[in-house]
């Protein structure tokens, strides 16, 4: 047991979950107090002592499954499983909300449908093959029809559909776990962990995130903004020392017999910069621009005002889209409403910067901070960095945030260092963590 526990802790550390020796000891002490035969208790005991950050919980759950597998009865998968029969049973279990049945069905489905014949590395089971063959949208349709009642209101149907979709999602999780369980039996936990563990959400790259991760990242923006707003506000408050306010200090000292224990200081109103966000919304870079736009607008109260501009080859101001409260929707609208393409839809930094400088540079002042979001890939057009120099000359700060890894800058058509030379700083912002770091350090 000790060996398995130590192996598990090592795997956690490899996956980036910090586990100290002390925490390892705590885990061992904790196991003395729970019944190890009860898997949920056992898992909870390890989780509470070893994994102390929500963003590591996915990795913890996955590695726990890999290292402490439930020994299922090793029986042969029945050969006569029929696809129609399985689909029918899954639909029934979803309609009935029978979690136990769904778990058993996941095991059977993977055994019957997931096997990849003739794989070079021995028997192999594919999650994607199971999901495709089982045709879950059709199964969901069956389940919905089976549960429908004639007197259902539209809303009742909607709510039921949502609940069933949640069950389908958890069934898919069960399928994924089962394929991994079989892979572990074949290859051992380390090999599976290597491909299965994803980085925590804050470290997933904007450009390489899966669809599901993008959705979760979008949800993470608002709490992040709240956190940053508190931090930025605190920094501003701290940075202004203020002069002693004699009147209030004397008034305060009356309660301590005229001895001024606690001097009162006079605060200056905080300096709040005016933010200009200029973002490339072409192609894959757009994903990054969306996060950055949502974040800066969610931080609105910390700035004098936030104005945003989108471009592909010409610039359009999109500030008004963010006048409502729903920034996620505003970002969706951006693509339909902004007028940003004149030529072929590939980004042209040179023309866009020149356009911005010509139309809006007059409004920049020593109070303004300009953020430019984009990968600085010019598609081999003229970079026109003199336009950027003009912008930098008028604004207090100009920062360029690039979603590309710094190692790729200046390769191919990237004009990164040409632009970087004209501004305060070019920063690599590939994930939410780096975005957070930038905002709290520079704004």
């Amino acid at each position: 047991m000790l060996d398995r526990l130590l192996g598990f802790e090592r795997a956690l550390r490899e996956a980036g979950v910090p586990v100290s020796t002390g925490e390892g000891l705590d885990a061992m002490r904790a196991l003395e107090h729970v019944n190890a035969a009860r898997r949920d208790d056992f898992k909870a005991a390890l989780r509470t002592t070893l994994c102390k950050n929500v963003s590591h919980q996915d990795a913890f759950d996955l590695l726990f499954d890999l290292h402490f597998q439930t020994a299922l009865p090793e029986r042969e998968d029945p050969a006569d499983e029929s696809l129609d029969g399985l689909m029918h049973e899954v639909a029934e279990a979803i309609a009935g909300g029978d979690e136990e049945a769904l778990r058993r069905l996941a095991v059977r489905s993977v055994g019957a449908l997931g096997r990849i014949e003739g794989a070079p590395t021995g028997t192999w089971f594919s999650y994607y093959q199971v999901v495709r063959t089982l045709d879950l949208p059709v199964v969901l349709g069956h389940a919905l029809r089976a549960a429908a009642r004639p007197d259902d209101s539209e809303r009742a149907a909607l709510l039921r559909r949502e609940e069933f979709e949640r069950r389908v999602r958890s069934f898919k999780d069960a399928l994924l776990r089962e394929t991994r369980r079989r892979a572990v039996a074949e290859k051992g936990p380390e090999a599976v962990a290597r491909y299965a563990v994803r980085p925590p959400l804050e470290e997933v790259g904007f450009l390489s995130a899966t669809q599901d991760e993008l959705v979760r990242m979008r949800r993470a923006v608002r709490p992040l903004a709240r956190k940053l707003a508190a931090r930025v506000a605190l920094k501003r408050r701290r940075s202004q020392r203020g002069v002693v306010d004699m009147r209030r200090t004397i008034r305060r000292s009356l309660s301590t017999g005229g001895v001024p224990f606690a001097p009162a200081v006079r605060h200056r109103p905080p300096h709040r910069p005016e933010l200009f966000v200029l973002c490339d919304v072409s192609g894959s870079v757009a994903r990054f621009a969306r996060f950055a736009l949502m974040l800066t607008h969610s931080l609105g109260a910390q700035f004098e005002r936030v104005r945003s501009f989108a471009f592909v080859d010409v610039v359009d101001e999109i500030t008004s889209l963010f006048s409502g409260e729903d920034f996620a929707e505003a970002v969706e609208d951006m693509h339909r409403k902004a007028d940003v393409v004149q030529a072929d839809g590939r980004s042209d930094y040179g023309t866009a910067l020149q356009d911005f400088a010509a139309r809006f540079a007059g409004e920049l002042s020593p109070k303004s901070t300009v953020l430019i979001l984009g990968d600085a890939r010019t598609n081999y057009r003229t970079p026109r960095d003199e336009a950027l120099a003009e912008i930098a000359g008028r604004a207090r700060h100009v920062y360029w945030l690039s979603p590309e890894p710094a190692g790729d800058w200046d390769t191919g058509d990237s004009a990164a260092s040409v632009y970087a030379a004209r501004i305060d700083k070019m920063v690599e912002v590939r994930n939410l963590r780096q975005l957070e770091d930038f905002v709290s350090a520079e704004l």
């Binding site: 705590d26 904790a30 107090h33 729970v34 949920d40 208790d41 509470t48 709510l159 001895v259 409502g324």
Partner: protein
């Protein structure tokens, strides 16, 4: 070694349930371990999932009193640990002219001039207590560091009086909304519990337990609407407390089934932002003549 307060996971569950707090095996295991290992329990999770409620429920289940430290920005040792009562000290000095300074000094740095703050009170308590340190993420980093000595060695050093050790190790619960990442040092000393919104069945059970007059059908409808709303991207998702408020509201209005009109009138109990209300209205397909208020 102190006696155990709970005999096992089952007992934790049962006793929490008796005071109206429905837990699951994972949560009960963590509470059991916090008791057995004498470690503070750090509870994180979104607002309104019952973090503070958990501490209160443990206190109620054990029948012991709860000492609460509400954290906010700018809280320092004078608010968390102890403070000397300056005004009283000043009076004492002025009241006794002609005394030698060493006598006065000995006197004014003694027990009667000490103001106990929650953490010191919990440490010095004769009775077993629960110390709830609420919203610990609002503390500044410096103030957080102050807690470290307490949470690992159960003692506080007051320079003038010496080190005060706990007579009975208190059961400590810290809660956090994760507004700020807590330090590794603090996390290492604690057991960690992440609370999330409960699943459909558990939330339904909570509604039925806390609002006993409600019918099962209505409880199911209430919970599934709340769940559906929580899946939207909202400024503020409805908390469990708000679900309960909503259930009570519906009960008072004698509602037996949720129609457009009732929804439009009562959703503000759940959602406190106009944009959230509009979004939920659209999502739940409330007819515009009802929602257009």
């Amino acid at each position: 070694m102190r006696r155990h307060r709970f005999s096992g996971v089952e007992e934790v569950r049962r006793r929490l349930e008796q005071v109206g707090y429905l837990s699951d095996d994972a949560l009960a295991t963590v509470v059991l371990l916090a008791d057995r290992l004498d470690k503070p329990l750090l509870v994180e999770g979104p607002a309104g999932v019952g973090k503070t409620e958990l501490a209160k429920a443990i206190a109620a289940a054990l029948g012991i009193s709860l000492i609460r430290l509400q954290c906010y920005e700018g809280v320092d040792e004078a608010k968390t640990l102890y403070e000397w009562n300056y005004k009283k000290q000043l009076l004492r000095i002025q009241a006794g002219p002609g005394e030698s300074w060493s006598d006065v000094e000995e006197d004014i740095f003694s027990e009667p001039f000490l103001l106990e703050r929650p953490v010191l009170r919990a440490i010095r308590s004769e009775e077993p207590v629960i110390l709830l340190i609420d919203e610990v993420d609002k503390l500044d980093v410096e103030a957080e560091a102050l807690l470290l000595e307490v949470l690992s060695d159960w003692q506080i050093t007051v320079p003038e009086l010496g080190t005060v050790s706990a007579r009975e190790i208190p059961f400590v619960v810290l809660t956090s909304n994760n507004d700020r990442e807590l330090s590794e040092a603090l996390k290492r000393r604690c057991l960690y519990l992440h609370l999330d919104y409960p699943d459909l069945e558990r939330e339904r059970a909570i509604v039925l337990a806390r609002v006993p007059e409600i019918t099962e059908t209505l409880a199911t409808q209430v919970v599934s609407v709340v769940r559906s709303i929580r899946d939207l991207e909202l400024k503020k998702a409805p908390s469990i407390a708000e679900t309960l408020d909503w259930a009570r509201t519906l009960l008072h209005l004698n509602v037996s089934t949720l129609d457009d009109d009732t929804l439009a009138r009562t959703l503000p109990v759940l959602l406190k932002f106009r944009s959230d209300l509009e979004k939920a209205g659209r999502h739940l397909k409330i007819a515009p003549e009802h929602s257009g208020n």
